[in-house]
C-alpha cells in the first residue's frame, strides 16, 4: 500500500472539486492540495455535461429574492433555506469570477452584456450560457487553471472509503484504489472534500456520464453520515431515445429546447402538456416527466416506447443555429432534430438528495467537507434547470475557502482506524477472487429495470415494497459474483462490481426515503399519496446506515427565510 499525505484532499474533478482546489490554493498558498478522480481530471463528472446554463439574477428587474423564491417554490418548500439563499446570493459574484478570473466566455446579448435565456419554472430569464454546451466552457477553463497551478493530481484513483481516526473524532484520510496498478493508496489529509457528484445511473434511462455511480454518497453512508432528501431523483423530460444497445440512449436533449418553444407530442402526434399545465412544455421538470410517463402508460407512446420532441415549427434554420450541439448529437444517431421528430423519454438526471451539510461546506464529521451533487438540501424536492452548475461551482468554491481557513485551526495529520482500513480493503478485494464477471451486465440491467419500474417517476407503496425485496436479492447476488479476473490492474470488471455495490446501496437509500415520505412533493410522486401535504409543516427525510441496516426519519423543515403563506405576496 502506498501512503501519501496532503493538507487538502479533494475527491472529484467536476465543477465543485476544481473550484474547491482553486479556492483552497488561493486561500492557503503554502498548503499542499490534491485532486483525486476516478477518471481523468476534468473529464469525468457531469459539470462538463451541462448544456443549458447557469442561473444568476443579474438582469435588470431581476433580483436575488426572485431567484430564491423560484428555487424554494421549485423545491416544494423542503429546501434548507439557508443553503438555497447562499446559492442565489453568491451566484452573481461566482459568474463574474468565472468570466473575469477563470476565463469562461459566456454568450452575450445585443448590448454586449451577458445573454440570459428562458428556462423552465422560472419567473425571469436568468440562465447565462455558452451556446448549448455551457459545461464544456466552464470545466475546460477550470481544468486549465488547475493544470497551471501547483496542485497535485491523482487521476485514475478511485476512493473507496472515508477513514476516521480510531477515536472516530475526525476524518483521518481516504483509501483509494490506484486503478492503473490496482494497488491501494492511503492518502492522509487534514481536510477532505467530498465532491464526487451523484449521478442516478441506477435507472434504465439516465443522463449522467456512465462512470458515475454515487460513490461519494455510498462512502458517506458507510462513514455514518446522514443523507437527506434521497427520494428526490430528478428526471429530465427529454432524454434521447435511440434504441436499446447504445450508450447514447438516455443522454439529455437540453431544457432550452422546450424553453425556446419546443413541443412534446404523443406517438399519435398530439400535444399533451397544455391539458396539464398553463406553462405547457415550460412547466417544471417533475410535472413534465410525470405527465410523459402517464401518456406512455396510457398507450400513447412512440415505437421505441417514448414520446416525440418537435422543434421544426420554430424554423429548422433557427433550431440549427441556436442548438447546434443538440442537432449534431441527434444527427449522429441518424435523427433530424431541426426539421423532424425525435423520440424522447424522461431520463434520470440529478439527485437533489445527499449528505447533510452546512452553508460553509462542513459536515457532521470534522475534517470532512462536501459540495455539489453529493450534498442535499439546496434544491429541496426539485432542482431548477440552471441551478445545478451554480450549486457545484458556488459550494465548491465556498468549501475551498472553508478548508483553507480550517487548516489554520486543525490539528496535524491523524492516523486512520486500522480496523476500518482493513475492512474497506478486504471488501474491495473480495470480488477479485470470485468468478462471474459475465453476470455483472445482467445485474446492472436488472437493477436499472427494477429502479425504473418500481422506484421511478410514479411510485406506490406496493411497488416500493416489491423493490425492497428485489434490491436485497440483487445485493446478495452481487456478493456471490466476482470480477472474473484476478488481475487488479486497470480492470473495468472490478470497478463495475464496485460501482454496482455503491449503486445498490444508494438505491436502497432512495427506496427507503421514498417509503418514508408518504406524500408527493417535487420529483417524488406517490400515486397512493398524491397530495403534497401542509407546506408550512413540511418535513424532509434523513437516511443513515447503521451496520448493514438503513434507517430513516422525517425531520421538520425550518422555513428560516420565507414561509409558504408569504409566497402570495410576491
Amino acid at each position: 500500500m502506498i501512503r501519501l499525505e496532503t493538507d487538502i484532499l479533494i475527491l472529484g474533478s467536476g465543477g465543485a472539486g476544481l473550484f474547491a482546489a482553486l479556492h483552497a490554493k488561493a486561500g492557503a498558498p503554502e498548503a499542499s492540495v490534491t485532486v483525486a478522480v476516478k477518471g481523468l481530471l476534468g473529464k469525468s463528472g457531469c459539470t462538463r455535461m451541462v448544456q443549458g446554463g447557469y442561473n444568476v439574477a443579474v438582469g435588470p428587474g431581476d433580483s436575488v429574492e426572485r431567484h430564491f423564491l423560484d428555487t424554494i417554490e421549485g423545491g416544494g418548500w423542503i429546501n434548507d433555506q439557508d443553503l438555497a439563499w447562499k446559492l442565489v446570493e453568491t451566484a452573481p459574484a461566482r459568474v463574474r469570477e468565472l468570466e473575469n478570473q477563470i476565463g469562461c466566455f459566456f454568450d452575450r446579448g445585443p448590448d454586449g452584456g451577458l445573454h440570459r435565456k428562458a428556462f423552465a419554472g422560472q419567473s425571469f430569464d436568468r440562465t447565462v450560457h455558452k451556446g448549448d454546451l455551457t459545461g464544456i466552457e466552464i470545466i475546460g477553463r477550470l481544468a486549465e487553471q488547475v493544470w497551471a497551478r501547483d496542485i497535485r493530481r491523482l487521476e485514475d484513483h478511485r476512493a473507496i472509503a472515508l477513514l476516521p481516526d480510531a477515536a472516530g473524532a475526525a476524518l483521518a484520510g481516504v483509501l483509494f484504489i490506484d486503478m492503473r496498478s490496482g494497488d491501494f493508496t492511503l492518502v492522509r489529509a487534514r481536510a477532505v472534500l467530498l465532491a464526487t457528484g451523484g449521478g442516478p445511473t441506477m435507472y434504465r434511462y439516465h443522463t449522467p456520464s456512465g462512470d458515475k455511480s454515487c460513490d461519494g454518497m455510498a462512502m458517506a453512508l458507510r462513514a455514518g453520515l446522514p443523507l437527506r432528501d434521497m427520494e428526490m431523483v430528478q428526471f429530465h423530460p427529454t432524454g434521447l431515445l435511440a434504441g436499446p444497445g447504445t450508450r447514447m440512449t438516455g443522454t439529455v436533449l437540453e431544457e432550452g429546447l422546450r424553453g425556446a418553444g419546443g413541443w412534446l407530442l404523443t406517438g399519435g402526434g398530439e400535444r399533451f402538456m397544455l391539458r396539464v399545465d398553463d406553462r405547457a412544455e415550460r412547466a417544471t421538470r417533475d410535472i413534465i416527466s410525470r405527465t410523459m410517463i402517464e401518456e406512455i402508460r396510457a398507450g400513447r407512446a412512440t415505437p421505441h416506447g417514448g414520446l416525440y420532441l418537435k422543434m421544426a415549427h420554430l424554423g429548422p434554420a433557427r433550431v440549427r443555429a441556436e442548438f447546434k450541439g443538440m442537432v449534431e448529437r441527434c444527427a449522429d444517431c441518424g435523427l433530424d432534430l431541426a426539421g423532424g421528430l425525435v423520440e424522447v423519454i424522461p431520463s434520470a438526471h440529478y439527485m437533489m438528495g445527499g449528505v447533510v451539510f452546512a452553508p460553509d461546506g462542513s459536515t457532521a464529521l470534522p475534517g470532512l467537507f462536501a459540495a455539489g451533487e453529493d450534498t442535499g438540501g439546496v434544491h429541496g424536492a426539485n432542482r431548477l434547470g440552471g441551478n445545478g452548475v451554480a450549486d457545484s461551482t458556488i459550494f465548491g468554491g465556498i468549501a475551498g475557502d472553508t478548508m483553507a481557513a480550517w487548516l489554520r485551526d486543525a490539528s496535524g495529520f491523524r492516523e486512520p482506524d486500522r480496523d476500518l482500513l482493513d475492512q474497506a480493503a478486504g471488501r474491495a478485494l473480495a470480488p477479485l477472487h470470485r468468478n462471474g464477471a459475465g453476470r455483472l451486465a445482467d445485474l446492472r440491467d436488472r437493477l436499472a429495470t427494477l429502479m425504473w419500474d418500481k422506484v421511478g417517476i410514479l411510485r406506490t407503496g406496493r411497488d416500493l415494497a416489491d423493490a425492497e425485496a428485489a434490491l436485497a436479492d440483487l445485493g446478495a447476488e452481487l456478493a456471490e459474483t466476482g470480477a472474473g479476473s484476478a488481475s487488479p490492474a486497470y480492470n473495468p470488471a472490478w470497478h463495475d462490481w464496485l460501482n454496482l455495490e455503491n449503486l445498490i446501496l444508494v438505491s436502497r437509500a432512495i427506496l427507503l426515503a421514498a417509503q418514508t415520505r408518504q406524500g408527493s412533493r417535487g420529483a417524488h410522486y406517490r400515486c397512493d399519496f398524491p397530495e403534497p401535504g401542509d407546506l408550512a409543516a413540511s418535513s424532509y427525510t434523513e437516511v443513515r446506515l447503521q451496520g448493514e441496516v438503513l434507517t430513516a426519519a422525517n425531520r421538520p423543515v425550518r422555513h428560516t427565510r420565507v414561509r409558504p403563506a408569504q409566497e402570495t405576496g410576491r
Binding site: 478570473q101 459545461g135 434504441g243 447504445t246 450508450r247 470480477a483
Partner: protein
C-alpha cells in the same frame, strides 16, 4: 454492417510495459451501435479486464478517443456502420501518449503541453466588478469564438505527425487554445502570448499539413488557428516586438 451480422474486431492489447498484441473478437451487431458500444460489449461479454476509457458517452468529455481503422476518433459518436470495412474493425490506443492498458492512455502529457504553452486564461488586474461588454457580432467575439469549443480529446494531437515526433512542440490543441486567448479581449496578456509560443520548437514547427483539422470531431480548424498565430507572430516580429 447491419443488425444480425457478426463483426470481427481487432484490438491492440497491451500495457505500458508489454509489447502490444492484436487480439480478435467476434461481436454480433444489434441495432446501429457506436464503436464505444462495441468495445463495451466486448468488455462485458468476452474480456472483462479489457482496458478502455469513456465517461460522458455523448461527445462532451473526450475520454474515449482511440485509433479506429488507424484514424483517431471519438468512439462514442462514431457509428460502426460508417467505419467498418468488410466486417472488420481495427482498434488501437491513441498514439503519442503512454498506454495505461489496452485502449486506455494517460492524457497527462497532452495537458502538460497545454499548460506549458500558456493555455489558460490570465485575468486582468482591474478586478471583478464588471463584465466586459462584447457584442456578439463584433470581430473580437467572432475571433475568440472560432476555436473556443475544443473539448481537449487529443484527437488532433494524435493525428499530427509533427506532434508525435517533436516532444517540445505544443501541438494543435494547445496552440488552438492559445489562438483563442490571443483573440480574447478580456485576457491580460492577449497578443503578448505570441512570444511564448513562437520560439524554436514552437508554433513554427507546424508544417500546415492539416491532419488536425481533417480529424477534429468538433469540426474546428486548429490548422487555421496555428496559421493565425504564425501570421500574428510575424507581424509582431516585423513591428520589433519580442
Amino acid at each position: 454492417m447491419t443488425a444480425g451480422e457478426v463483426i470481427t474486431v481487432t484490438i491492440r492489447r497491451g500495457g505500458e510495459h508489454g509489447a502490444p498484441v492484436p487480439v480478435d473478437f467476434r461481436v454480433p451487431i444489434t441495432g446501429d451501435p457506436t464503436v464505444l458500444d462495441l468495445v463495451t460489449a466486448i468488455q462485458r461479454d468476452q474480456a472483462p479486464d479489457l482496458g478502455y476509457r469513456f465517461s460522458c458517452r455523448v461527445g462532451m468529455c473526450g475520454s474515449c478517443a482511440m485509433l479506429v481503422q488507424g484514424r483517431p476518433r471519438w468512439t462514442c459518436r462514431t457509428r460502426v456502420s460508417l467505419v467498418a470495412r468488410r466486417g472488420r474493425l481495427d482498434l488501437a490506443p491513441l498514439p503519442g501518449l503512454p498506454v495505461v492498458k489496452d485502449l486506455a492512455v494517460d492524457m497527462a502529457p497532452f495537458f502538460e503541453k497545454w499548460a506549458a504553452a500558456g493555455g489558460g486564461f490570465r485575468p486582468c488586474e482591474s478586478g471583478d466588478a464588471v463584465l466586459a461588454l462584447v457584442a456578439p457580432e463584433s470581430p473580437a467575439r467572432r475571433n475568440a469564438d472560432a476555436a473556443i469549443e475544443c473539448i481537449g480529446c487529443g484527437v488532433c494531437a494524435a493525428a499530427c505527425r509533427v506532434a508525435g515526433a517533436e516532444p517540445g512542440y505544443p501541438g494543435p490543441a494547445a496552440l488552438n487554445r492559445v489562438w483563442t486567448l490571443v483573440n480574447d479581449v478580456r485576457d491580460a496578456d492577449g497578443p503578448r502570448r505570441l512570444a511564448e509560443v513562437a520560439g524554436p520548437g514552437g508554433l513554427f514547427t507546424c508544417h500546415s499539413q492539416g491532419a488536425c483539422t481533417a480529424c477534429c470531431p468538433k469540426g474546428l480548424d486548429p490548422s487555421r488557428s496555428i496559421a493565425g498565430l504564425k501570421r500574428a507572430a510575424v507581424l509582431a516580429a516585423l513591428r520589433g516586438e519580442p
